[in-house]
């Protein structure tokens, strides 16, 4: 599979997203980063670490499993649930959802429903490492690492050191193995 982002490019993209979050949220004081399982969680932690190194500010990081909110729940096998844990009160916060790939938008739709059950943030923003297009819902990202035009036949593989042992983004035909 051809690689479209190297480890360095992933790191730079996340640093830029961190800067943009600080800039557009007036210093990130009310920000809560919420990583969507699985790969959104380490991405949210890395963005938090970057914000800390730039501003000396520790932004709370939460995790969200959207398994119980999917609209295609009954079209796929039952999957194990991961932890949903938001360490702070979401009411009035600036919630920034973090995920690896934005595709149809259905995961984000489910995440918005899940968040609504956990509190009422003042605003919800969306940060993604890769936007590959092909939205099926009126959802758009606020912070994007890389816009990646793809065909529906292609698949995008994101690997992160915390889970996969290395960083990078690859694009290939469906069915091809990642990396």
């Amino acid at each position: 599979m051809p690689q479209v982002m190297t480890a360095d490019e992933v790191r730079r993209a996340l640093h830029r997203i961190a800067h943009e979050i600080i800039e557009q949220t007036d210093g990130a004081g009310d920000v809560v980063l919420i990583g969507i399982h699985t790969r959104g969680v380490p991405l949210a932690r890395r963005i938090a670490a970057a914000i800390d190194s730039f501003e000396g500010l520790q932004v709370p990081v939460g995790t969200l499993d959207i398994g119980l909110y999917r609209d295609d729940l009954h079209q796929r096998p039952v999957t194990p649930l991961a932890a949903t844990s938001i360490p702070v009160d979401l009411n009035g916060a600036v919630a920034v959802l973090v995920d690896d790939v934005l595709f149809t938008g259905r995961t984000v739709r489910a995440a918005l429903d899940a968040i609504a059950d956990l509190g009422r943030p003042a605003v919800v923003r969306l940060a993604v490492l890769v936007d590959r297009g092909h939205r099926q819902l009126p959802i758009r990202p606020d912070f994007v690492g890389k816009n990646l035009p793809t065909s529906l036949q292609e698949r995008v593989g994101v690997m992160l050191a915390e889970i996969d042992g290395e960083d990078g983004v690859w694009v290939g035909r469906k069915g091809a193995s990642v990396a």
Binding site: D65, G67, L68, Y69, L73, H74, Q75, R76, P77, V78, T79, P80, L81, A82, A83, T84, S85, D113, D117, L118, G119
Partner: protein, 305 residues
């Protein structure tokens, strides 16, 4: 998994996955809005041919917390009292379109028959003195949440084991999950045949008290003839009741459990029932989460058919 009729035959990993899912549902139930849309549009029918308060309410709560709709059937004042057969009752209910049936019946095997007649997923909510699998899983969850594990723990089940579907299901669930189970009862309250059960058996509670991590107490089931096999209640209390003195002889971190309804002053002393190391109310809370996990496992994914 199409049905949840018994815990026998499940692999350890399958039961552990169910407990992991239940852990997630405990978190859901503690949220400000303790409800998720996972089973929206699904309808769950409860058929309780035998009286039940806590199990039925627990299943109701579990189904509602998953946003499923409920149809409740109980035989009192129904066509059952007019002589309708179980099969006709069940098929009539099926025609109303539920996606799953939860069945409690005084006859052993009834939930299997319901599954066969309807082809629907069925959860056994207790059949005679045979099985009560969701009770066993909620007990396993309660122990695991308290001790962080089940492996190597020593669980003593005390009392009317012969008439207890709770004991039967617990023996197989807990031993599959790695716990050591001892049955503690007079011979008259042990099952007629427990050959092949993965348990140790003793008549002497006091001899094993000190080695127990969990004391699991059962009610004498008068309605199933449990009283007739013991000379008198005071004699039962003297030998098998968890009195304050026996409670003090336990290890300092040992806990007490009871599936309810309990008879204070008989199998469990008043102060023991209300002690911090009595997990009876945790069992009730965890019961809702376990039943959510079972409902989600049976109805949450793509159809097995």
């Amino acid at each position: 998994m199409k049905d949840f009729l018994t815990v026998e035959g499940f692999e350890r990993a399958e039961l552990e996955l169910l407990l992991d899912q239940a852990d997630s549902f405990v978190d859901v139930l503690r949220r400000p809005i303790p409800k998720v849309p996972a089973l929206r549009g699904k309808t769950v029918a409860t058929l309780f041919f035998e009286p039940s308060t806590r199990t039925k309410l627990s299943f109701d709560r579990a189904a509602k917390a998953l946003s499923a709709d409920l149809m409740n059937f109980s035989p009192g004042g129904s066509s059952v009292s007019k002589g309708e057969s179980l099969k006709d009752t069940v098929l009539t209910l099926k025609a109303m379109g539920p996606d799953l049936m939860i069945v409690r019946h005084q006859a052993t095997g009834a939930p299997w028959q319901v599954a066969g007649w309807t082809g629907l997923p069925v959860i056994n909510a207790g059949d005679g003195a045979h099985q009560h699998p969701t009770q066993a899983m909620l007990d396993a969850l309660t122990i695991r949440r308290r001790f962080g594990k089940l492996e190597g723990l020593h669980v003593g089940i005390v009392g009317d084991i012969r008439h207890s579907r709770v004991a039967r299901s617990n023996v197989f669930a807990l031993s599959t999950l790695g716990a050591d189970v001892t049955l503690i009862a007079p011979r008259t309250l042990l099952p007629v045949n427990h050959d092949g059960w993965p348990v140790t058996v003793t008549e002497d509670l006091d001899a094993v008290l000190e080695g127990l991590d969990v004391v699991y107490l059962l009610r004498i089931q008068a309605e199933r003839g449990g009283l007739s096999v013991f000379p008198s209640l005071p004699e039962y209390v003297a030998r098998y009741g968890l009195t304050q003195a026996r409670f003090q002889a336990l290890q300092p971190d040992a806990v007490v459990m009871h599936p309810g309804p309990m008879n204070r002053g008989v199998e469990i002393a008043d102060v023991v029932a209300d002690h911090e190391r009595s997990l009876i109310l945790s069992q009730v809370e965890n019961g809702v989460a376990v039943r959510m996990a079972v409902l989600f496992a049976l109805l949450g994914g793509e159809s097995n058919e």
